[in-house]
């Protein structure tokens, strides 16, 4: 071991806790922070602090003002009122450059990585070193190797970002933040795109960083993660801090209640399924992915009326291609898909809708909504040309608006009006719009892909209840989710997918979490 000048600071492991308590060694101290966008008050009079080496979770529903808060800490937005002090220095944070200089690093919800550049290039962007005017790329590669070794996050410095899976991209994003001297690391929904395994790895990394003296602020709405790593939790609701609690003193139910202000049913209440006739039959399906490799490879599954079949699996095992094939978005290479006996293997998305498939797509921004269209129009995207929404060539705007308003109430969408553009909504409300549209026409098969991804607890509960209600009305439901808890609590029957085929099928009542985890990992 070579002793570097900075080691003594980290070495005071034993005295650290006492010193912190005695001097109040606050890394971040926010007092009376408010921020408004037009008439929307995103943050109201927020006060919070973070101590050295502490992991603080910011918990809240979509639109509670968490992202707005951390953007101000990172200098991306300026507060209207209040102060943000970093290590006792309350000078305004002018811009990200200033924030970086003062020891703040941020991992963004949408990765701030240039897709066509390599890991090494992204790593040095903004603080490049040069030799004789030329970029020192060898030095950058060395930096990547050192950092990934130090933090146990393996990445190839020469890989281009766009070729990397999201989990790896996120490692790069975190390493990038750590490549500057970081005292406070902000993680904005770091686990939203990760598989359970990747999530666990990340949580480990966070603990190690905190043990090394780095403070972490992390945003999430997953209660399990909060309880697993956080020292303290701030709960935000409608822009205000409504609760501060030590993680050791609370549990999932307590946190969920604080988030939404009422008791949340985390387990889905549902009656025994009453399965009827076969609705969807998939036989020996083969579907190619974007690289023309078989992602779905001999997939066979039947879904009956009145039951929820959950497909559990680690992301990237063909789930997306399977859903796209059934929805008519991706022509299968082989096999057969039938709906109520009708062959829909070669149907296009419109034909599958007409046949009776309601599809809640995985990527609602790209495939679920048109951001610039009004909510009312988005509610009829799949049947704008059908009566009563159109009469021949002429659209009936009155009917579209009335339909929108009725669904608004029914699905509890929170927005200024049905004529507001879809892009103006928060993630949870956007998802409710998609769910409303796909459920409201009485589908024979409801296919829900990651239906609660990036959605707040209140909306998750609501969406789950609607899915169960659709089942009880006699629809067949195919649920594809990367959240094992969601599959376990919602499904009547579970199919485990691995390598593009079903490796096990079981009634949900017999399902065992560890057993399924083993099957998902390809151990069968």
């Amino acid at each position: 071991m070579t002793a570097s000048p900075s080691t003594p600071a980290y070495g005071e492991e034993t005295g650290a806790k006492d010193r912190r308590a005695a001097t109040g060694d606050r890394l971040l101290d926010i007092v009376g922070l408010s921020k408004s966008f037009g008439t929307v008050r995103a943050n109201r009079d927020i006060s919070l602090h973070v101590e050295r080496g502490e992991i603080v979770a910011l918990l809240g529903e979509n639109g509670a003002g968490k992202s707005t808060l951390v953007k101000q800490i990172f200098g991306l937005q300026a507060p209207d009122e209040g102060t943000i002090a970093i290590k006792g220095d309350a000078a305004p944070i002018k811009d990200p450059k200033d924030a970086i200089r003062r020891g703040i690093g941020m991992e963004h919800q949408h990765f701030q990585l240039v897709p066509v550049m390599t890991v090494a290039e992204n790593m040095i962007l903004g603080h490049e070193t040069t030799k004789h005017g030329q970029l020192d790329l060898e030095g950058a590669r060395q930096l990547v190797r050192e950092l990934s070794e130090k933090h146990g996050l393996a990445v190839d410095p020469d890989a281009e970002i766009e070729d990397l899976p999201v989990g790896t991209q996120q490692r790069v994003e975190i390493l990038k933040a750590l490549s500057r001297k970081v005292d406070l690391l902000i993680l904005d929904e770091p686990t939203a795109v990760l598989t359970p395994q990747e999530t666990d790895e990340l949580l480990e990394v966070m603990k190690e960083l905190a043990a090394g003296g780095t403070s972490i602020v992390f945003i999430t709405h997953k209660l399990r993660e909060v309880l697993a790593v956080a020292d303290r939790v701030y709960v935000l609701r409608q822009g205000s801090v409504v609760g501060e609690v030590a993680a050791a003193d609370t549990d999932a139910r307590g946190l969920a209640t604080m988030m939404v202000g009422r008791e949340v049913v985390l387990r889905v209440d549902k009656d025994e399924p009453k399965p009827g006739a076969d609705v969807l039959r998939v036989a020996d399906l083969v579907v190619l992915d974007d690289r023309a490799l078989p992602a779905v490879d001999g997939f066979t599954l039947t879904v009956r009326a009145g039951e929820i079949v959950g497909v559990a699996g680690v992301e990237g095992n063909g789930q997306r291609e399977l859903v796209e094939a059934i929805a008519g978005m991706r022509p299968p290479k082989g096999g057969l898909i039938t709906l109520l006996g009708e062959d829909i293997t070669k149907a296009n998305p419109h034909q599958t809708h007409v046949a009776g498939i309601g599809h809640i797509p995985e990527d609602r921004e790209r495939h679920g909504l048109v951001g610039s269209y009004s909510l009312a129009d988005n509610m009829v995207l799949n049947r704008f040309d059908e009566k009563p929404f159109a009469n021949g060539f002429v659209r009936n705007f009155e009917a579209v608006r009335e339909n929108g308003e009725a669904l608004f109430k029914e699905f509890d969408v929170r927005a200024a009006s049905v004529m507001a553009p879809a892009a103006s909504l928060s993630g949870g409300n956007k998802q409710k719009v998609v769910v409303a549209r796909e459920m409201s026409f009485g589908p024979k098969l409801l296919m829900a892909a990651q239906p609660t991804r990036g959605v707040d607890v209140g909306s998750i509960e609501f969406i789950h209840r609607r899915i169960v209600a659709a089942r009880d009305e006699g629809a067949a439901v195919l649920l594809v989710s990367a959240e094992l808890d969601e599959v376990l609590s919602l499904s009547d029957r579970i199919a485990v997918i691995h390598g593009g085929k079903v490796v096990a099928e079981m009634p949900a009542a017999d399902a065992d979490r560890t057993e399924i985890g083993r099957l998902m990992a390809g151990d069968h």
């Binding site: 953007k71 941020m106 963004h108 701030q112 550049m117 962007l125 903004g126 603080h127 490049e128």
Partner: protein, 331 residues
Amino acid sequence: MAWFSRNRSVTLTAVAIIVAAYVFYAINQRVAVSMIDFAWSFAVPLVLAACVGVMGERSGVINIGIEGQMLVGAFSGFFTAAATQSLWAGVIAGVLSGMLMGAFLAWTTVKWQMDQIIAGVVINIIATGLTSFYYKSGQSLTHVMPNIDIPLLSKIPLIGPVFFEGGPIALTTLVIVAILHFALFRTRWGLRTRAVGEYPSAADTAGINVIAMRLLNVTIAGGLAGLAGAYLSMEATPTFERGMTAGRGFLALAIMIFGAWRPLRAFAAALFFGFTSALASQLQASNIVSLPQQFINLLPYVLTLVVLAAAAGRVRPPAAAGQPFVKGEGS
């Protein structure tokens, strides 16, 4: 080695072209030199103008106004030189007026977020109007651009007399392309420029001033467009005519795309266009084919269509080209 395997097809193509050129040279020295010389004089303003497009789009600003920027450069260069009887003053005036037009595009689109296509069209209309209105006939230059020989380099067979012997703007163009290519891919400025054009919010969160980078790059690029204009009115022919850019600004955009937004490939693409023109003239002159002159003049434009159709979907523009950057959004 990694570089070679990634760029193998490009490298092999380049080698094949050079070999073909020397085979041609070995067969008929005089015709080869004259045709490639013709190609290069045709290509000079296109190379410069394509670099204007590359600098703009690589930093996220589409420049439809290259045509107008060149025209203004040609106009101010020629008339300043005619009035002062100094070629230097002319070239400087051309470059400065180009930068002014570049600054116009930069400030309207980057600072005030005007639509980039509309701003470019405005530049073209203003340029045509101004240069036609203030045009005076009967002006001429008393000096012509000197012919410069680069020692040693100009002695290389074929390449020497074509590229290393010529007017100062043509020679400068070679230097500019090389520097721009190096700067774009090997320097801090280049890394930041590309980041700003691909994913500006990533650059912003890394502490880079996106707005300042775009303003700077688009303004400097305007200077290159001015230089291209000065080449047309002072070096290629010592005269200014109304609308003398004749669509070269748009042709340059096609060359930029064909060149995959890389200066060196754009240089090769411009030479290819030039060579095709040379070939057509040669066929015409030697009576191998007899076509009306108009068809021959049409060739570069038809080729543009063909090339763009072929390149479509195979090359990818910088992702943020055309999109204004608003701080705090999109992250």
